[in-house]
Amino acid sequence: MSEAVGTARVKRGMAEMLKGGVIMDVVNVEQAKIAQDAGACAVMALERVPADIRAQGGVARMSDPDMIEKIKAAVTIPVMAKARIGHFVEARILEALGVDYIDESEVLTPADFENHIDKWDYKVPFVCGATNLGEALRRINEGAAMIRSKGEAGTGDVSNAMMHMRKIGGEIRRLSSMREDELYVAAKELQAPFALVKEVAETGKLPVVLFTAGGIATPADAALMMQMGADGVFIGSGIFKSGDPAARALACVKATTFFDDAKVVADASRGLGEAMVGINVADLPAPHRLAERGW
């Protein structure tokens, strides 16, 4: 009997199981349990949600292993954790801790301004952010088994998530309409490998699951992203920076499943208390825009 772990199929397949779900940022055991009880399909364990990283500044790094272990022990759903872009030792630590997915994330301070982690070399799968198709395909070429559109984390402003989903979707549709002999130039322009460009042109979709992240704060935001073609959503600061996290978490789960049913989304939107206050992305000075990290 031949048996293999850490194959592309089991890494990408893991993301298939998360589809139609909400992955929630949590900073402690209590929040992780609230997320699981509300129906989160996974949690992202981190020390500070993006809104706090933004507010407090400083260097944002991988979370404390003890904190990740505690969250792993408290829930049965998959636990993800973030490593800095290019920080392959943080990634090895997270793999050794047995997290279920690593997010090589622009929300943390990058460790390398040129290279991302060589993700093929790990048994644990990686999710990476992207603002456009070329960036998504470069990450997949490095071994990412799941992509999330970046949006602008920690703002509660969904406009960048929208822009990135439109961009990725638009570029895929453009490839699908091209003659095969035009794909060589398309690959050059996208700065992405030809084989992946050709695959996307043929299938009309990314070869891995595509979630949306960055700025989702309401059930309506979640449903909007699902209607834009996301396979699921990450909600970072939006839940635990709101007035009633348990109710908002459940409401976002409902709206993600019934994204195409306005009545369900309307019902889910009632009585949630205050949403996170948020920041308009347009008011953020360029050096503080996280989506621009990644190359």
């Binding site: 009997m1 893991m14 199981m17 996974a42």
Partner: protein
């Protein structure tokens, strides 16, 4: 046959595609009215706690239990196997299942994602390639449950990974992630054919 796929969360699209490729109408089921329309149901891979929570919230839980009791054929893969088990171990506190198969299933029995694997196995007398993702196994079962496949795990013991009791059928692995339709065909041709009048 009208094959419903529970579409609350998980890889339901892949099961719908398998149903269509095998020549059946595949319908998504998110509401009781949709459940009433179908002859058989597939519970997809995904997170069993999420699927159970949404089934409760949208009043599908008791309806699915009722259809199972009435003899509707159901196939569950991975999370679906957990949802068909009468008893689970290593589940979330107070985690509910639809039940129906007289067995105990251990959640994430093969380990976490770093232990997820692909393997060749024998399913009901035929060799095939199977994909296991944070997969459960059957820990204990009654004599009325038939074992269709088992694998040797890291503990050196054989554990059932495909079982059937009457019209209910479950696998730990994900045939919907491969292009091999034999497991789905087994459900449609062997399990459903006998159970649907």
């Amino acid at each position: 046959m009208k094959i419903g796929v529970l579409a609350l969360q998980g890889d339901f699209r892949e099961h719908l595609l398998a149903a269509k490729q095998a020549g059946h109408a595949g319908l998504t089921v998110r509401r009781s009215e949709e459940l009433a329309e179908v002859d058989a149901l597939i519970l997809p891979g995904g997170e069993s706690t999420t699927i159970a929570q949404l089934a409760r919230t949208f009043d599908l839980f008791t309806d699915i239990k009722k259809r199972i009791a009435e003899g509707m054929p159901v196939y569950g893969s991975c999370a679906g196997m957990i949802l068909l088990a009468d008893r689970i171990v290593d589940g979330a506190l107070g985690q509910e299942t639809f039940g129906g198969i007289d067995m105990t299933v251990r959640r994430n029995a093969f380990g976490r994602q770093v232990d997820s694997f692909e393997s060749d196995l024998n399913f009901n007398g035929t060799e095939m390639h199977a994909v296991f993702i944070r997969a459960p196994w059957v820990e204990e079962l009654s004599s009325s449950v038939q074992v269709l496949s088992d694998v040797i795990a890291a503990d050196g013991k054989r554990h059932p990974v495909a079982v059937r009791q009457g019209a209910l059928f479950a696998t730990s692995f994900h045939p919907e992630l491969t292009t091999d339709l034999r497991v789905h065909r087994y459900f449609f041709d062997q399990v459903c054919a006998g159970a649907i009048k």
